[in-house]
Symmetry: C2
């Protein structure tokens, strides 16, 4: 398997390129509109055919590159079940598996940051957690129908029950971490360690964070698969 | 082997944490002063003992975290042979090997960005290239006794002769790439592809880049192992 972590400096967003080295088929998870040229060039140089752009959720901090990539490559756009994205080619529900060559990508519905959100377990040994579990943190739950109780339940019951050595690749990192493991996050994630459901909810409801800068533009654009209206 | 790539957003610098999972001994390559607290916390959480801070070269764009880490942990500071760093505990010359548990870190002198610069080949399968080879680029050669001819010779004769599948982990990336391979860089690095030594030198001598913002502060501080004078 070819696996590349890519970074958007402006929004601290990670995009993941996953490809089967035999069939040369590829997916991009959470592509960023401003990085489409970089990503296309890399796909071309590596001799890969982009089959799918997969979203972990409808992002509020950046516009997805899916619409542009789809129009340029003919790939399909995949979003989580229940995401309000009429233009998606496919919806993945909890437990559903996408196969790309010999690679197995399994959706794990991890709600809470938004009311439609998947993590993706890749070949059983690494999980792309989007904006649910971050390295020593988690996504916020105060807009887009966020729900801290659901976040707590899904992180602790669905992600923290994966094997300790499972690699954690988040949708963002703001401190320069690139990867962690489930074992580490169970032991050291300050959002969850020593917190029961009620105290987690209370903490999350009192973060008082400012809105992401691009939210007014990003959410409606992402509901159109990232199509930017002129 | 435990291998972690860490990122400093302000200067687009990569720091590498490498540790032996049995002996729990660790090294940091190119630590950044402003990230020392993050790095110490990670070492502690992972149950690691920091043995060495290793520099690829005397940096001009950020102050190294070595002095602070050394005073807090008792680790040793290692720099390339001929680096003007009187406070270093050890100098590594071309071909010299540092062992840390079962991990072998081999210095490959790759001059040109500065007149003392090592790449480090880790366990034979990945090379930390500092500011010599970047992903689809290379370090500048217009200050600190830089020499584009040496850069060309050492990248093409010492790095590009490593096996194609060798992973390339650079000291910086400005476009969000995290890793590449020697094979990819041989094929697609625009600084080297299709260029002979003379045209490479001409190109490098005409980049007309502005000085790094921190150069006046960083170079003298790094010649003191990163000790900041009050």
């Amino acid at each position: 398997m070819l696996f590349r972590q890519l970074y958007d400096n402006e929004t601290s967003t990670y995009t993941y390129l996953i490809a089967d080295e035999i069939s040369r088929e590829a997916v991009l998870v959470d592509p960023v509109l401003e990085q489409v040229d970089r990503d296309l060039k890399l796909l071309q140089e590596l001799g890969l055919t982009l089959r799918y752009c997969i979203e972990t959720h409808i992002h509020a901090d950046h516009v997805t590159g899916t619409d542009k990539l789809r129009s340029l490559t003919g790939c399909q756009g995949i979003v989580p079940e229940n995401a309000k994205v009429a233009c998606a080619d496919r919806f993945m529900k909890d437990g559903e598996i996408l196969r790309i060559g010999n690679i197995e990508i399994k959706a794990i519905a991890t709600l809470g940051h938004t009311d439609s959100h998947n993590s993706y377990l890749v070949n059983g040994d690494r999980v792309l957690t989007g904006d649910s579990l971050f390295i020593r943190g988690c996504g916020r739950t105060d807009f887009q129908s966020g729900d801290p109780g659901l976040m707590y339940d899904h992180v602790t019951q669905k992600l923290f029950t994966l094997p300790d050595e499972t690699l954690v690749y988040p949708g963002h990192d703001y401190k320069g971490h690139t990867v962690s493991t489930i074992g580490e996050e169970k032991k050291y994630n300050p959002r969850f360690v020593g917190k029961d459901r009620a105290s987690f909810i209370e903490m999350m409801n009192n973060l008082n964070l400012p809105d992401p800068k691009k939210i007014a533009e990003a959410v409606p654009a992402n509901e159109r698969c990232g199509k930017v209206l002129v």
